[in-house]
């Protein structure tokens, strides 16, 4: 069908061009804003316990984000970045996978690592780069990772995880792991060459990988209209020969339904799947950003009305699975938990200066040991100028 040597080419005899938007991509939508189910739609099979767990995960992340933004404003953190608006897109997808599936994220998927059990203390350790940070204080805040939780450590260079996820999944298949890889990225990162390389290789090499593109309308200040001319990211999956679905990213039932099915396809057929979650980045890109320079409050307010957490809450209440009391209790509980942990963790020391030269290789080579010995000598000479490493005072 697509190869030049095809025996039965699909011919036409007049020059007709296919329009960029000719491919109709519908959006899976299950939940109405008021929590009722769309006509003709069906809620996924989800028991009470799972539903509450999903909901609590989203609320937890909203609370964590709010508290960490204010902690950053108070100068207690150097940097932060929220998942606000995309809690359903991330929670609903992560929840469809099993613990032995690998997750490779971009950086706005704290809801996914939380789903797997990352503790409040672990979040704080990473955010404050202390000695208990699994990443040894080497990366900026929000670059989480955990081998135990099968969550690959976040890397800032965009798009790099996309071909890596294809390769990881390919190896999982060959090793007979009965597991797949879930790979997240933004609609902006999908412009990187690595996106195209990764999707094509995943398709050609039949890799059990589920790509979740979080289309939240912005890449820092650049709106989606300046990012691509086509109809979002989904048609690209089709172009690479990948099974593709678009979902309302603020509708957790739609995201969950699509993701369960995506995982099943990836694992049963050994093939990649692309899921595009349509949502909105409610907050600033990060604490270094001020969106008032490039988008209107009006636009933000419109999306605030489609809040994914409220929508799920309405559904839960309609089912009689949730009430205002419970809501109040978890909000208070999470706020306290996060602030208590922050206070506790703020007292922890930085990683030892010895970690400066570890993990560059499996063991530090001689030239690095020599450089480090010289550095230690230098610090010993000027301890007051290097207060933390010099031991003069706690940093």
């Amino acid at each position: 069908m697509t190869s030049a040597s095809d025996v039965k080419p699909n011919l036409m005899h007049k020059a007709q061009f296919i329009e960029g938007h000719d491919l109709p991509i519908p959006t899976l939508s299950i939940l109405n804003a008021d929590g009722s189910i769309q006509a003709g739609a069906e809620a996924p099979e989800m028991d009470h316990e799972t539903a509450i767990k999903l909901y609590r995960n989203m609320v937890y992340i909203r609370v964590l984000d709010e508290r960490m933004i204010s902690a950053q404003r108070q100068g207690r953190l150097s940097f932060y970045l929220t998942c606000a608006g995309e809690e359903a897109a991330v929670t609903g997808s992560a929840a469809a996978f099993s613990m032995n599936d690998m997750i490779m994220g971009q950086y706005r998927e704290q809801a996914a690592i939380r789903w797997r059990g990352f503790t409040t203390e672990q979040f704080m350790n990473q955010l404050l780069s202390n000695e208990d940070d699994l990443g040894k204080g080497r990366q900026m805040p929000v670059h989480y990772g955990s081998n135990e939780l099968n969550f690959m450590t976040i890397s800032s260079p965009l798009g790099t995880q996309i071909p890596q996820a294809a390769g990881y999944a390919y190896a999982q298949k060959l090793q007979g792991n009965q597991a797949c890889t879930l790979c997240y990225f933004g609609e902006g990162a999908a412009s990187e060459g690595d996106f195209h390389a990764g999707l094509n290789m995943a398709a050609v090499l039949n890799c059990p990988v589920v790509f979740v593109c979080r289309n939240n309308g912005y890449a820092i200040s650049t709106p989606a209209e300046e990012q691509f001319k086509g109809d979002g990211i989904a048609p690209r999956g089709v172009g690479y020969g990948i099974k593709t679905i678009r979902v309302d990213g603020n509708d957790i039932l739609a995201v969950y339904t699509a993701s369960i099915e995506a995982r099943r396809i990836a694992l049963e057929n050994n093939e990649p799947v692309l899921v595009e979650t349509m949502s909105y980045r409610l907050g600033a890109h990060s604490t270094s950003d001020d969106p008032s320079g490039y988008r209107s409050k009006d636009e933000e307010d419109k999306w605030r009305e489609k809040d994914p957490i409220e929508r799920m809450q309405n559904w839960l209440q309609a089912k009689g699975w949730w009430n205002g009391e419970e809501e109040k209790a978890i909000l208070e509980g999470y706020r306290k938990e996060v602030l208590d942990a922050l206070k506790r963790v703020e007292k922890k020391p930085m990683p030892s200066i010895d970690e400066l030269i570890t993990d560059v290789y499996d063991t530090p080579p001689a030239h690095l040991q020599k450089q480090y010995a010289e550095l230690k000598e230098h610090i010993a000479k000027y301890p007051e100028n290097y207060p933390v490493a010099g031991g003069a005072k706690h940093g």
Binding site: D194, T222, L356, H367, Q371, Y372, Y382
Partner: protein, 325 residues
């Protein structure tokens, strides 16, 4: 003259160049309406229109290739790479394409009207991927020119030279100094010659050589040495490729000693190239081995950034060791 910080000087240089050259285009991630994440391209879209200053899709290899295409056509292309740490997806376009465009075509084609601007360097709690100094990779590439200003006056004059130089230029901007470095900058158009170092302080005992953000540390080290009665000659290289062998060699012939400092990692850093050349040029005048102060041979850390960076105390210790050799 006007007081400007380094960022304003860059913005002013871009504005000056765009006003003088109708074919000049500024492009890059978020450079349009927003004016870039550091605001180096502020108001340029307002002033010159969306066709001449625009956001690109998020692809550095695309940005580089696109800019090369515009330059090959004869337009002036000034592309921003948001952080030097993110220049690597564009490496192939810069190193294999821009650098070799003229040579491989026998000068049938060239991309001389091309500049890549990018913020580099540490000291901003940026960790691995918002702190790197990748200049040495590009200095290893014939066909490119590589510049690194250290203050607002240099930033404007060198950027204007870079834009008008008939060769592709990489322009590394010390982001730590974007707002921290302020100075008098002429409002009119002026250029600083590429390939010329600046002797910023005369001295007789030892030569200190650096570039970009590292110059702040060099001055502090020279001040501290002066308190001990040591007279340092301080040179700001400004232009790494090509670099001003003559000015550095003249200074070292006079002082007999040289300390080179850069934030980039030690092994394979550009300091090694300078040390080899100066040893060749000044062998008989040297009183002690040429010293290098650099980042440790590790990725750039977040915790212990202060210890990692080659600061003025490390430069001072190196110059004292050189004098006591």
């Amino acid at each position: 003259m006007a007081k400007m910080n380094l960022l304003q000087a860059i913005n002013n240089a871009l504005d000056t160049a765009m006003a003088a050259d109708d074919s000049m285009i500024c492009l890059g991630e978020d450079v349009g309406k927003f004016g870039g994440v550091f605001r180096a391209t502020s108001h340029l879209q307002e002033k010159y229109g969306k066709a001449r200053c625009f956001n690109t899709p998020l692809t550095e290899q695309g940005i580089a290739g696109f800019a090369i295409g515009m330059a090959a056509q004869g337009s002036t292309a000034v592309a921003e790479i948001q952080f030097a740490d993110y220049i690597f997806p564009a490496f192939d376009q810069i190193v294999n394409e821009a650098a070799k465009f003229r040579y491989r075509s026998g000068n049938e084609f060239n991309v001389g009207s091309l500049v890549f601007r990018t913020p580099y360097g540490g000291g901003i709690a940026g960790g691995l991927y918002h702190s790197q100094s990748p200049e040495a990779y590009f200095c290893h590439t014939p066909g490119l020119k590589v510049l690194m200003p250290s203050n607002p006056y240099q930033a404007k004059g060198l950027l204007l030279s870079a834009i008008r130089d008939p060769n592709p230029v990489l322009f590394f901007e010390p982001k730590r100094l974007y707002r921290a470095s302020e100075g008098d900058v002429p409002e009119e158009d002026y250029e600083i010659p590429i390939g010329k170092a600046e002797v910023v302080r005369n001295g007789s005992d030892i030569t200190l050589l650096g570039w970009g953000a590292q110059m702040t540390e060099m001055h502090k080290a020279a001040d501290k040495a002066a308190e001990e009665g040591i007279s340092c000659e301080v040179i700001d290289l400004r232009s790494l490729l090509p670099w001003d062998v003559e000015t550095v060699a003249n200074s070292v012939s006079k002082t007999g000693r040289l300390v080179i400092a850069h934030e980039a990692t030690h092994t394979g850093g550009f300091g090694g190239e300078i040390a080899a050349t100066i040893q060749q040029e000044c062998f008989l005048s040297l009183e002690s081995p040429i010293a290098r102060v650099a980042g440790l041979d590790t990725p750039f850390p977040l915790a212990h950034e202060k210890e990692y960076l080659p600061d003025y105390l490390k430069v001072y210790e190196a110059l004292v060791a050189s004098l006591n050799y």
